[in-house]
């Protein structure tokens, strides 16, 4: 048992969770107090001791499913049924015998046709029959996933292949249609609200099924390749570590959710920092005046009231395809903590450049604003490929005079200018006028200067060029900015 736990903790650390020795010891202590056959209790015992942040729960969940997957009697996968030869040689996890009644229908596995599965699926969703849902998941995976032993995959492919064959949308539609017809007192149809609620209910059930299918596929993969190998394939970065440039759609949604709390935390921390910056410089005049009451001895030094200046921010963001996600998150974050700056102005460009500050001011939520920036900003000049030189030139011409010694300029982009002229002198001039010029580059440092990247030419006129690949780095930069 201890071996499995140590392996599990090591896996959590590899996925980036900070698990201390004390916490691991607590976990070992905690599982002594819960009945091992109760899988849920076991999971929560580990969760409460090992995971100390809700953002890490997903990583924990994945690892848990892999290391302690169900291998009770009703989940027994006959070796011939699955991959032919392999024995179960996984390190013995907890064979959690979750008591679930075994359905006869799920027992006779051999002779099920696609039609029968569809019928079962329909019934399971309609009646919300959990045991039946589990059975459908198992059958569907067996029939449709077409799993091959030994392949080093995480199972996503199998998952989608199974779903494609089940036509879940169709089933939900059919269920809703049917409900429409069979409301008590036929005459009145469902109100739109009821229909919406009903559909959401069925969708929730479908999600339940999807989770079952995923679990089933994992179960099979674990018995094929062992927990350690699978955990490695499934390991996903934590939301704050996801790379902007390579985030999947699902990860983007996750990051969007993570950015709100991040902004709130930054806001709270910055406000606090400002307040605690108590002491200003020595106020000489006041000190001398007060010294008179001590006979000329400056016993009571006086200080000026600190007036920490709020910086003025100008964000110039490249929103061409390759770095759009990065620009969106940065704009989102900067505007969300706008109260910490005296003014935030944002400009977006591809090869043309346009000011979008007004859009942010008018919109209630930042999400909406970011959405509208994409639609309304006039950023294409010739062909819609990034042209840093031209964009900077136009910026200087139209707004350059408004850059003063209080302004900090932040340029966002990968500086891949498609071999256009860099016009780096513009940046030099801006730097002379502004307080600071920073450049945030979402590319890994090792790529800088390769191909059409001209970051080196701009870098000499910046006060700092930072690699900014994920929310963590972005947060750190913004905090230092104030």
């Amino acid at each position: 048992m201890l071996d499995v736990l140590t392996g599990f903790v090591a896996e959590l650390r590899r996925s980036g969770l900070p698990v201390s020795v004390t916490e691991a010891a607590d976990a070992a202590e905690a599982i002594r107090h819960v009945p091992l056959e109760d899988r849920q209790a076991f999971k929560y015992a580990l969760g409460a001791t090992l995971v100390k942040s809700s953002a890490h729960w997903r990583a924990f969940d994945t690892a848990f499913e892999v290391y302690f997957s169900l291998r009770g009697s009703q989940y027994e996968i006959g070796t011939d049924e699955l991959f032919g030869t392999r024995e179960e040689d996984v390190p013995g996890g907890v064979g959690a015998g979750e008591v679930r009644e075994r359905r006869d229908g799920a027992g006779g596995l051999e002779a099920v046709s696609p039609e029968e599965i569809a019928a079962m699926l329909y019934r399971a969703l309609r009646d919300r029959d959990k045991a039946m849902l589990a059975a459908v998941a198992r059958l569907a995976v067996r029939l449709y996933a077409g799993m091959e032993p030994g392949r080093p995959v995480g199972g996503t492919y199998y998952f989608y292949r199974t779903l494609r064959n089940l036509d879940l949308d169709g089933v939900v539609e059919r269920l809703v249609d049917e409900a429409r017809g069979t409301v008590p007192g036929d005459a009145e149809a469902l109100t739109p609200l009821e229909e919406r609620l009903l559909e959401e209910e069925y969708r929730a059930r479908v999600e339940e099924l999807q989770r079952e299918i995923e679990a089933e596929i994992r179960r099979r993969l674990v018995s094929d390749r062992g927990a350690g190998a699978l955990a490695q394939a499934l390991r996903k970065p934590l939301p704050e570590d996801v790379d902007f440039m390579h985030a999947s759609r699902e990860e983007l949604v996750m990051m969007r959710r993570a950015i709100q709390p991040l902004a709130r935390k930054l806001q709270a921390r910055l406000a606090r920092k400002r307040r605690h910056l108590r002491r200003g410089a020595l106020d000489f005049r006041s000190t001398v005046r007060h010294s008179l009451s001590y006979g000329g001895v400056p016993a009571d030094p006086r200080f000026r009231h600190p007036r920490p200046s709020k910086p003025e921010i100008v964000v110039i963001a490249d929103i061409s395809g390759s770095v759009a996600a990065f620009a969106r998150f940065t704009l989102h974050l900067v505007h969300a903590i706008g109260a910490q700056f005296s003014q935030v102005r944002s400009f977006v460009f591809i090869d043309g450049i346009d000011e979008v500050s007004r859009i942010f001011e008018r919109c209630e939520t930042v999400t909406e604003a970011v959405h509208r920036v994409n639609q309304e900003a006039d950023v294409v000049w010739v062909d819609g490929h990034s042209d840093y030189g031209h964009a900077l030139g136009v910026f200087r011409e139209r707004w350059g005079r408004q850059i003063g010694p209080k302004t900090s300029i932040i340029v966002l982009g990968d500086a891949r200018s498609n071999y256009h002229s860099p016009e780096a002198w513009v940046l030099k001039e801006l730097q002379q006028r502004a307080r600071h010029v920073y450049w945030l580059n979402p590319e890994p440092k090792s790529y800088w200067g390769s191909g059409d990247s001209i970051i080196e030419q701009y870098a000499q006129f910046c006060d700092g060029v930072y690699e900014c690949r994920n929310l963590r780095q972005l947060g750190a930069f913004v905090e230092n900015l104030v």
């Binding site: 905690a30 209790a41 929560y44 409460a48 001791t49 809700s54 609200l193 929730a204 709270a268």
Partner: protein, 299 residues
């Protein structure tokens, strides 16, 4: 961590996870497996529980309910910025000390000093009070994310060793280990040191089924059908992109209003009219009514 096993006088409050759940239910708090499991472990391991989650999901209520079901006294420390030792731990009663000094004018200073630093002159604040209590207590440290990081350190000694060191008096150790709950709205990251000492529980919005149960238990006179509708509509609202999603307490307010208005079944119209009970931002209300209106038009 020390003294956990040597505590001697410790007795276990709960027999099993299921017992926790039942007892919580009996005082009107519906817990799921995870929650009751963590409460059970908190008792067995003698560790504090850090409860995190969006506002209005029953974090504070949990501590109150646990106190109610174990028949313990609830001691509450509300955290705020600027909270310090003298508000959280203990303070010397200066006025009484001064009076004493005046009364004993002429006595040797050593005697007086010995005199005025005794428990008689000690004002206990919530943390010390919880440690010194001889009867069972539940200590609730509410909104711990509001104190500064430096102040957090005050809590550490209490939370891990259940003792308080007072320089003039020595160390006060707990006679019995109280159940401790810390709540946080997650406005800032708590320090690792604090997190390490606690069990972690994340309370999220409940599932439809649980929410329906909660409504049924907490709102007298509501029909099952209405409760079901309420729970579903609230889930629907939570799936929208809003500034602030409706919390459980707001769901309950809404249900009570519906019952008061004598409404049997909610339709889009009633929902839109009473939306201000669920959502507290104008932009949210507009977005939600638009969403509900939009479904009305497409059908």
């Amino acid at each position: 961590m020390s003294g956990r096993d040597e505590g001697g006088a410790r007795r276990e409050r709960f027999a099993s996870v299921a017992a926790v759940r039942e007892q919580l239910h009996s005082v009107g708090y519906l817990a799921d497996d995870g929650l009751s499991g963590v409460v059970y472990l908190a008792d067995r391991l003698g560790k504090p529980v850090l409860v995190e989650g969006p506002a209005g999901t029953g974090k504070t209520e949990l501590a109150k309910s646990v106190a109610a079901m174990t028949g313990a006294r609830l001691i509450r420390l509300q955290c705020y910025e600027g909270l310090d030792e003298s508000k959280a731990l203990y303070e010397w009663n200066y006025k009484r000390q001064l009076l004493r000094i005046q009364v004993e004018q002429g006595a040797a200073w050593a005697d007086i000093e010995e005199d005025i630093f005794t428990e008689e002159f000690l004002l206990t604040r919530p943390l010390l009070e919880a440690i010194r209590a001889s009867e069972p207590v539940v200590l609730l440290i509410d909104e711990v994310d509001r104190v500064e990081i430096e102040t957090e350190a005050l809590l550490l000694e209490v939370l891990s060793d259940y003792q308080v060191s007072i320089p003039e008096l020595g160390t006060v150790t707990a006679t019995q280990i109280p159940l401790v709950f810390l709540t946080s709205n997650n406005t800032r990251e708590l320090s690792e040191a604090l997190k390490r000492r606690c069990l972690y529980l994340h309370l999220d919005y409940p599932s439809v089924e649980r929410e329906r149960e909660i409504v049924l238990v907490k709102v007298p006179g509501i029909s099952e059908q209405l409760a079901d509708q309420v729970a579903r509509i609230v889930r629907s609202l939570r799936s929208l992109d809003l500034k602030k999603h409706p919390s459980i307490s707001e769901t309950l307010d809404w249900s009570r209003t519906l019952v008061l208005l004598g409404i049997e079944s909610v339709d889009a119209e009633t929902t839109r009219e009473t939306l201000n009970l669920l959502l507290k931002y104008r932009s949210d209300i507009e977005a939600a009514s638009k969403e509900l209106g939009a479904t009305a038009m497409t059908a």
